[in-house]
């Protein structure tokens, strides 16, 4: 695979081991990842928050089992926001899903082992088209992994967002009847998941963006006023790291002419 494309605002969010440790609670309000004891892993996280996704990925992998989650997050975030080649993007998601699956076997009580498996498979499913992914049985895996994440860590805001997106996507693609009967997808559950995510992590631009997209899908109204309000709020957030900056840029692009 070609070298990863650089984060477009390189250098604007420079973190090191000490500053990542200092701001850990705020930086991980979304994924509830516990502060690592290992400095190599912390270094990988510092690279991740700085937007050096490829180095974060490689440093995480070198750090062994404890670094798998940061490697997965770096790969998934890079693939989702910056990788323009569809094929490479899908490969990154599949590889991350596989690493996360293996991690969940070794550490079944690790919420983020389940979460990154779900996130990677979920984005992969969107990338090959949700209808096709459901036909391949990926829907069940994504849903179960997200529910397991929340069971293990009820404060996991990002898992609530992803589960909200799951319900919205399934209903949008196969309809509420089949979606409900076959995949247990419900509009009310989807909307509640988004609302819970925002309650858990009120500053999250990503929660607002996915909520807005989910609302449009579930309510079938492209100019839903609540969606507009969410985009405006997301556009007004103060990003603390590279990933949050990518979310805010996305929200701003949405409100541009």
């Amino acid at each position: 695979m070609a070298p990863w494309k650089p984060f477009p605002h390189a250098g604007e969010y420079a973190f090191n081991v000490a500053s990542v440790r200092q701001h850990w609670a705020r930086l991980h309000a979304g994924d509830a990842e516990p502060l690592p004891g290992n400095d190599d892993v912390l270094m990988a996280w510092a690279l991740f928050h700085s937007g050096e996704f490829q180095r974060a990925f490689e440093t995480g992998l070198r750090a062994g089992v404890e670094g798998v989650t940061v490697a997965n997050k770096a790969a998934c975030i890079y693939a989702n926001y910056l990788e323009s080649r569809e094929k490479d993007r899908l490969v990154l998601f599949l590889e991350a899903a596989e690493r996360a699956r293996e991690l969940a076997i070794q550490q079944p009580a690790n919420p983020n082992a389940w979460f990154w498996q779900a996130y990677a498979l979920g984005r992969y499913s969107q990338g090959i088209s949700v209808a096709r992914a459901l036909a391949q049985g990926l829907g069940k895996r994504v849903k179960e992994a997200l529910e397991r994440t929340i069971e293990l860590q009820p404060q996991h805001a990002d898992a609530h967002i992803a589960l909200g997106t799951f319900h919205a996507e399934v209903i949008d693609k196969v309809g509420s009847l089949i979606g409900g009967m076959t995949y247990g997808a419900r509009k009310e559950t989807g909307l509640k998941m988004f609302a819970d995510a925002l309650a858990l992590n009120p500053e999250s631009a990503m929660a607002k963006l996915e909520y807005a997209r989910g609302l449009v899908m579930l309510e079938g109204q492209p100019d839903h006023p609540e969606a507009t309000r969410l985009y405006q709020q997301a556009a007004a957030t103060m990003p603390m790291d590279a990933k949050e900056r990518l979310d805010r840029d996305l929200a701003r692009a949405e409100l541009q002419d």
Partner: protein, 220 residues
């Protein structure tokens, strides 16, 4: 901050994608090209359309909706002049979504929605052409044995559906460029209606020739 409706990006993405698909053919347009053309980040594109299939499906849905509306007007066709206008409008719509027809077999083989819905498109076209023939028969402008309706309607649908492929093969480098639209569409409408000639009432037949001549002069 001024209140602006969201989803403008989604709309812009669809418009630009349609243009790129039409110009270069869907298989030759990557998501990289689409986001570069729009000058948006890949993340922004995926946020709205996580898969290329979603783009194809959204464009196809629009085509299907417009086509449905238009085909429903077929029973208002009374004479050759109406029929000419009807076919021309139909070709204009097909032209607007010509990427679908340009790589039809390829799209059908990889997109389930198109695979199932395009059969409906053909059926709907055939139904509309039959109601056009009915309506013209009632108005006395066409005289056709009911046993010949099915085959004539089918032939018209085939020409309607594959006319642009024919134009494309004749001149692959230019046929589907916008400056050739008018002549290509006119020829298409002419050839579809030409299948009606044996059944047209005499004055209608002359009128059709008159229309064709008028357009030929336009061309020159």
């Amino acid at each position: 901050m001024a209140k602006k409706a969201p989803r403008r990006t989604a709309e812009r993405i669809l418009e630009v994608t349609l243009e790129l698909f039409n110009r270069f053919g869907e298989p030759n347009v990557s998501t990289t090209l689409i986001s570069a053309e729009l000058n948006i980040s890949p993340g922004n594109l995926y946020y709205h359309y996580p898969a290329k299939d979603e783009l194809i499906n959204s464009l196809f849905d629009r085509y299907e909706r417009s086509l449905s509306e238009l085909l429903n007007a077929s029973d208002n066709v009374r004479d050759v002049e109406d029929a000419w206008f009807f076919m021309h409008t139909l070709f204009e719509l097909i032209w607007q979504y010509r990427f679908l027809y340009r790589d039809l077999n390829d799209l059908l083989s990889k997109n389930r929605r198109l695979e199932t819905h395009f059969q409906w498109v053909l059926k709907n076209k055939a139904r509309a052409v039959k109601s056009l023939l009915d309506s013209m028969s009632r108005a006395g402008t066409v005289s056709i044995d009911s046993r010949e309706v099915e085959a004539t309607a089918t032939s018209m649908v085939v020409v309607l559906t594959y006319w642009l492929s024919y134009e494309y093969v004749r001149d692959p480098r230019h046929a589907l460029e916008p400056e050739h639209a008018q002549t290509a569409l006119m020829r298409g409408a002419h050839h579809v209606l030409n299948l009606l000639v044996p059944y047209l009432e005499t004055s209608q037949r002359r009128h059709l020739m008159g229309l064709v001549d008028a357009y030929h002069q336009d061309e020159k």
